[in-house]
Every structure is written in structure tokens, then in C-alpha cells.
């Protein structure tokens, strides 16, 4: 909802990125979400990540469904096209858009209602197809926009604002994604920009389906005591498995990591993800172990966060590589390469005589 246009006055002293743009160039319309809504912090993290990556604004494509969370796409990178689809069906729009032009950067923003209830089938199948996109769930355990019903991610025992207790088991998108073979699975918290920004950068650059499930509290309907998706609860039950840094292509790693403390993963475009250890050993390339760790965390009420699992891009071809699609975007192929012409038609019709 953009009743008000935000003035885009650029202060000369603002820092510029490699493309010569300030953060302002990556902002969008003024948010109409509730003051304090976790989703707005996710927006800020996306702005930061896009600025840091020095993306060309028009090369980003923003996709969403319906919900408070799905409004987020209006609030960043106003130079990028956005598509606010119908409720729960953003993954199919993303799949089609990506099919038409494999070279843009696709970011989908969804909510726990949008993804895990009405959109569950499409979400799972986008993973299965390994559509090359960053998929962010702004997960608050409730339906914000329709005023606070439990969503499918509400934990057993979590209390609603009106007092009701949820007794149905939650669907954890991280476990589900791991189960369905997603090659990049992360969890974070809207309150931890430090962790979230590099994850977004990594996810945007990863070739394949990258999921970030972001705990993003709903201050209006699910930030009270008894909720397991409140700011307070998230802060108290926060368990990062690794610290992730993202190093863009052609940029040297500037920090020296103590030996054995960091692990580097190269992406197709030459950029790198650096994972720094925290506490006990955690191997983010072992899917089964990751699943067990997440499950164990949940069982004790902890949120395992960070880059939970990542697979070498080469071992898990994305939709286009799997299909051997032409390198040039399909939407730009010259007509002559597509339409076989009159002479060929003659030959084709011969078999119908």
C-alpha cells in the first residue's frame, strides 16, 4: 500500500557501492506495516544485501503472494519489477518467470500462511524443480493480514493473543525443504541483521533454490507471552550453527580466519560463502545430520539458525540445467530461431497425408 511517495533525496555523503549507488537506490515505497513488524527488518536486510552486492536494480525480480509479508516486495528496490500474485501461488509465477529469462535474479517473499497452508504444494514443487531463486519466508506463526489466526507453523503449546492454545504439530519449512532436497536451506531472525544480510547475499547468488526461513515476529498478533514466535522467545532460544560471510566475486577475503575455524564454498560466479564455526562442529553439507540437528533443536524449543545446509551447485542442477535450456533468455530469442518457416511446414505436413 503506497499512499505516500517517499522523497528520494540522496545525501551526497551517503556511501556508494561498486555501481556507484547509495542504499537509497535499493529502497522502495514507504512501508504500511505495523510499527515494529519483523517484516520491516527483513526489508532493511534485503536493501542492505542488494546494495552490498551492487545489483543492477532492474535485474532483480520481486515476487510474492498475499499477506503482510507478501507486501514486503513493495518496500525495497523500486527499480525492480514486482509481482504480487494471488495467495499461495507465488512459486508458480516464479517458476514461469524464471523459465522465460534465466538471467535475472529472482527473490520471492512469502509468509508462513502463504507458504505452508494454501501454498504448500507449490512450495514443495518449486523445491523439487530446483527453481533458481531466493525464497524468503517471513515466519510469524500467524496470519497477520487476516488478524491473527494460527498458521501451520505455530508450535504445539503456543498461545494465541486471545488465549487459545495451538495443539496441532507445526510444519517446519526448514525440515520440509531438507526432506525435499532443497540445496540451500537457512534459518534466521529478523532481529539479527548481522546474520541475515550475508545469508540473503549468499541466497541471491546461489544457483538453485535457496530458502531462508526468517523468524519475523508479528507485533500486533503474536508477540505476547506464551507465543513461541515473539521477539523475546526468539532471542532466548536462538542457536546459530555457523557464522556466514558472503564474499562477492573478485573481492579478496579481507579477514583472516583462524585455521580450522572457517570453511569456504565457491559459487558458480566466483563469489564465495565463508562459514565460520560457532561452538560444536556442525557440517552444513550433510543433509541427514542437518535434519537431525534441526529436529533435535525444535524438540528442545531451540531455533537452529544460520546456513543450515548447502549443497555444491554442481551436484544439483537447477531447473534450466536439468532441462538443458538455451543460455540466451527464452524471452529474447529471435523469432527466426523459433518459427520453422513455410518450407519446413511442407515437410512436417507430409506425414499427415
Amino acid at each position: 500500500m503506497t499512499f505516500i511517495a517517499k522523497p528520494k533525496v540522496t545525501h551526497p555523503a551517503l556511501p556508494h557501492n561498486a555501481r556507484g549507488l547509495t542504499r537509497r537506490a535499493y529502497e522502495g515505497a514507504l512501508s504500511t506495516l505495523c510499527a515494529g513488524c519483523g517484516h520491516d527488518s527483513v526489508t532493511a536486510a534485503i536493501v542492505e544485501a542488494c546494495w552490498h552486492l551492487a545489483l543492477e536494480p532492474q535485474n532483480l525480480v520481486k515476487l510474492s503472494g498475499i499477506g503482510c509479508s507478501s507486501k514486503t516486495t513493495a518496500y525495497f528496490v523500486s527499480g525492480a519489477h514486482g509481482f504480487n500474485a494471488v495467495h499461495g501461488r507465488m512459486p508458480s509465477i516464479a517458476t514461469g518467470a524464471n523459465a522465460a529469462n534465466r538471467h535475472l535474479n529472482y527473490i520471492g517473499i512469502s509468509g508462513d500462511g502463504d507458504t505452508l497452508s494454501i501454498g504448500l504444494g507449490q512450495f514443495c514443487h518449486a523445491i523439487r524443480r530446483n527453481v533458481d531463486m531466493l525464497y524468503i519466508i517471513e515466519n510469524n506463526g500467524v496470519y497477520g493480514l487476516t488478524k491473527g489466526q494460527f498458521s501451520a507453523s505455530a508450535d504445539i503449546g503456543s498461545r494465541a493473543k486471545k488465549g487459545e492454545t495451538n495443539r496441532q504439530p507445526p510444519i517446519d519449512p526448514v525440515l520440509l525443504a531438507l526432506d525435499l532436497g532443497a540445496p540451500f536451506v537457512a534459518r534466521s531472525f529478523s532481529g539479527d541483521k548481522h546474520q541475515l544480510v550475508p545469508l540473503i547475499e549468499a541466497g541471491l547468488n546461489y544457483r538453485g533454490f535457496a530458502l531462508i526461513d526468517v523468524l519475523s515476529p508479528c507485533v500486533t498478533f503474536n508477540d505476547h507471552e506464551g507465543s513461541t514466535k515473539s521477539y523475546a522467545y526468539a532471542r532466548e532460544h536462538y542457536d546459530p550453527v555457523a557464522l556466514t560471510d558472503f564474499v562477492p566475486r573478485e573481492q579478496p577475503i579481507t579477514v583472516d580466519y583462524p585455521p580450522g575455524e572457517a570453511r569456504e564454498l565457491a559459487l558458480h560466479d566466483g563469489s564465495r560463502i565463508v562459514l565460520r564455526k560457532v561452538g560444536a562442529d556442525y557440517d552444513p553439507t550433510d543433509r541427514v545430520a542437518a535434519q537431525a540437528a534441526v529436529r533435535a533443536g525444535s524438540a528442545s524449543g531451540e531455533y537452529l539458525t544460520g546456513l543450515i545446509f548447502i549443497q555444491d551447485e554442481a551436484t544439483h542442477p537447477d531447473f534450466h540445467r536439468l532441462n538443458a535450456t538455451a543460455q540466451e533468455p527464452l524471452n529474447g530469442l529471435p523469432f527466426e530461431q523459433l518459427s520453422p518457416g513455410a518450407a519446413q511446414l511442407e515437410r512436417i505436413l507430409a506425414r499427415f497425408r
Binding site: S92, G96, A99, T325, N331, L338, I348, L349, F352
Partner: protein, 612 residues
Amino acid sequence: MSSVKRVNDFTIKIATVNGTGSASANTLLMKSIFRSGVPVMGKNFFPSNIQGLPTWYEIRICPHGHLARSGTVELMVALNPETYGRDVREVAPGGFLLYDSTWPRPVLLSRTDITVIGVPLARLCNENFTGVRTRILMKNICYAGALAALLNLDLGHVRALLGETYGRKPQLLESNMQAIALGYEYVRAHFPCPLPLSIEPLERTGGHIMIDGNTAAALGCVYAGATVAAWYPITPSTSLMDAFKGFCERLRVDPQTGAKRFAFIQAEDELAAIGMVLGAAWNGARAFTATSGPGISLMSEFLGLAYYAEVPAVVFDIQRVGPSTGMPTRTQQGDLLACAYASHGDTRQVCLYPADPGECFQFAVTAFDLAERLQTPVLVLSDLDIGMNDWMVREFQWDDAYRPDRGKVLNAAQIESLEKFHRYVDVDGDGIPWRTLPGVHPKGAYFTRGSGHNSFGAYTEDAAEYQQVLDRLLKKWHTARQLVPRACLDGEGSEIGIVSIGSSDGAVREALALLRAQGIALDYLRVRAFPFGAEVEQFLAAHRLVFVAEQNRDAQLRSLLTLETAVEKGKLRSLLHYSGLPVSSQFIVAGVLAEVHGAAAAPVVSMADTTV
């Protein structure tokens, strides 16, 4: 007993069990007749399962090239004991019935007014072939041989066709030839050949092909330059997508790199399929899907979004019998209303109504041009009869000068030169705004949404702003009226008219010829698109009485005419056929005569119709 004597003018019906390979025998027969230069049509009435249930194939031979069912059967090939009873009843008096006389079949002798021809197909094949599956398959080829003899069909055509099919598998070719010969020789030895029903070479199929509408539509999509195809399998639309994939794999794969210049996506359901199409088309690719009635219902939320947010899309609805799952392997024109007003709220969708495979090819191209020009979904309503049966149509033409109409899309330079881009402003006064594609220019960026938006593309809840967009959409609708294919008009100024649509065309055309022979002349209008053009309005205004022939229960075309033209509906008379079988010319004739002569209304189901 007097036998019918008819040269090149009769109907053969072949009753078998599905999954036994009779389809290739039937095609072989039909194509041989076609190559004899005799116009022919084949219609397949198959069950909605994979194996073991009754199935029928009707071949109509007609020197005048009428494409509809005649409504009678002169030669029955009764090979399915389970349906002998009804099959024998269906033969026209004076007609013929061929059966497998390996076992005695007293029931087939119940009629004295037809000629029964016994050929021991099973025995012949058992004696000459080994293996259960081979014997079953060869039995079918064997009856084709028998029919060739009975009808005086040129074996040269049969041989040539088998050669083309099995050219690279000499063993198969040989056994097929042998089976043909078995049937052929047996019949020649035991019966006077040919029958009073026979094929005599003509020269009336030149410049024509035999093709089904789904293959034709797929070819049209290839020629239109469609690159993204997303779908979910559903009868009878599946063969359209299979054909598209097949053509692309032959014509759109880089021989060096193997790179594919198309994306073919089997979606998880119809909601996803249409979503993918919208995503791709929004992003500038020509994209389409194919489905049938249940898919249209499931797509309706997204179709409303596309209408309101003005996203192009091409959707083929290969209609089958509804409501609900209905009869998936029978034909109907039952989705006219569901498509025209798909989705909640004030929506109206552009529809095209091809009448045969030729128009499927042509309208596929038109559909993409219209969808991009109008920035809206275009639904192409074919049906099972057109889509899955082989039709004799003129060879398709292609003009190499054709270039797609991509509609009002601003390129980078144009965007750059604008002060500000506004997505939904009616710059040109035709109700069609300009659009931009992602990835082209940051100044061209806008937000696509199904929620309330104003002319500038911004979110709105303002009454006037909302209404402005909705009113412009109506204006665009009027522009569409001028861009869609005109209706086809025929006749010499009678005061009575008849209107039909899609696959009902063949039956109506033949009926008009039959009626003319009885001194009754009707003008004919075949509607080819929605919204209706001025010519439809004029036709309705110019006639005192107008029949509306269509294949559904609820007079859906008549409803659209009533709603969307000025016609006073009192003068519209419905001829409704909705049994699931393609309408026959007889049905139309009877309906018109009943009204014109004031006779009792014709029964909606004729005897012939009740037999499948």
C-alpha cells in the same frame, strides 16, 4: 433382403476392446481411403480407462467431404462380444456386419435385414502367428485386410502406409503385410467382392491433410514462437502438449550444443500450470497451457488476476463432457460460459472458437498475437472431437513474412526517454496501456498486483481511482471486439438464420445442404470469437428466426448471444446436443424441420446416439 448400394458414401463402425491395438488398424484403413482421393473422417469413441473396455471407431466416407457424423452405420465391424447386442442393432437396414467367425455368434443372426459376414480372424492369426500379444495385434491388421477386400480398397495404399510406419523394422512390416494378406485373401475366397459398399478412387483429397486438432494447435504454437509451455496432464488436452514437445525436440534443439529453445514444464496441477504461464508471459515469453473443463475451474482465480492485472496468456481448453469429471473421453461444448466469465468479480475473457484442425493451427497464432496486443488471457476453446480425431482439412499455409505482434511493450530507449512510466494509463485511447518487461530499465519498473490499483500502477482503495481502471478495461474490451477473428457468414439472404460454433460446424454445413435439397434455405453464421464483432450483431438483427446449434444442455452460446448483443432472445431457437457424441447432421436437420414445419420437436438423443 435388399442391400444398400453406395460408392464412396457410407459409414463403417468398428467395435473392439481398448488396449488391443485396433487404433493403428483403423488409422491404416482411413488413410488408405484418403490416399484413394476419397474424402473420409474418423471418430474415436474410447473409454476412460487403459485396457479391456469397449471402444468404437467410426469412419465416414463421403464424396462431398462432409465432416460430421452421418448418424447411420452401413458397415459394422463387430469384434467385441460384450457389445454385440447393441452393435448389431445399430446397423442400418440393408447394411453389413463383419465379425470374427472363429466362434459361432447366434446373436448376430437376429436381424434378417442385414448381411452378416463371418471371417475367422482369430483362427487365421493363431495359425499364422505365435505369441499372445502378436496374435491380438495381428487380428486387427487382419480385419483391415478383410475390409480392403470387401471395399475394393487399393492394397497399394495399405502397403505404402505400412512401409512408412515400419520402414525401419522389416520384421514388423512383414508380419503386418502377412496379416493384411490373410484377411484379404480369406474374404476374396469366401465372399463376392466388393460389397455394394465400395471405395472408388476419386481426386478429392488433393491439397488436404488428415490431422487432429491438438497436433495442429501444437504446431501453431511452435510457429507462433511460443517458448514456455506448462501444463498438467488431462484428457483430452494431453496430446496437444505431447505434440508441442515432440515438435520442439525436432525443431528447437541446437544440434551442436543440445540446448533447448523452449521450456516444457509438467506442473503439479492446473493452478500451478496457469501460474507458470502468467509468470513467463509477464516476463515477456510467449507462454501457454492446455487443459480441459476441470482445469478451467481450477485456473479461474488466476484468470481473474490476469484479466485485472493485464497479463497475457494463452489457454487451450479442449472441452470434454461435464459437469465435474464428467465423461473424459466424450465431447461437448460445455465450457463456453465458464471461460467467457471465468473468475469472480467483473471479468470477461477473450475466447476463440476453432471449428477444425485448420483453425486450431491458425488460431494458435492469433491467440498469442491477441494476448500480447490486448494484454489479457486468450482462451482457445477446442473440444475432444476436434482435438483428438483425425480431420481432413486443407494443408496449412504459412507466410514467412509473418512477425508476431508483441503488443505495446516499451524498449529500453523508449523508457529512458519517458519522464515517468505509468503502467495503466490509456495513452492511445484504445483502452490498452503500455507495459514494460523486467530486466530492461529501472525506470520501467512497476508493481503488478491483483489488488486495487490506479492508472499509475499504485495500490489504491480510492473509489474513483479504482473505477477508472475498471472502466478502461471495458474500453479495452471494445477494442478487442475489433481485433478478434470475424464470424464466418454464408447464405443468400434467407429470413431464417442459424448460428453455430466450433465443432458443430460440420454437422450444420451438411444439414444446410440437405435442407437446401428440400427447398429450405438458411443463412449461416459461425461465431469464431468472444467478444462478438459487429457482424454477429448484424446477422442476428437481419433474421426473423435464428437457430442456435451447440453441444451443451444449457444453451450457453445462446446465452452469450443474448447477453452480449442487442438481439431479443425470443427469436433464438436452440438446437442442443449434449450426449457426448459429436452432433450429427441428421440432428440439425430434424431440429430445423420440426420448427419450420411446426412438427413435434425432435428427440434430443437419436437412436444412433444411444449406442455408445
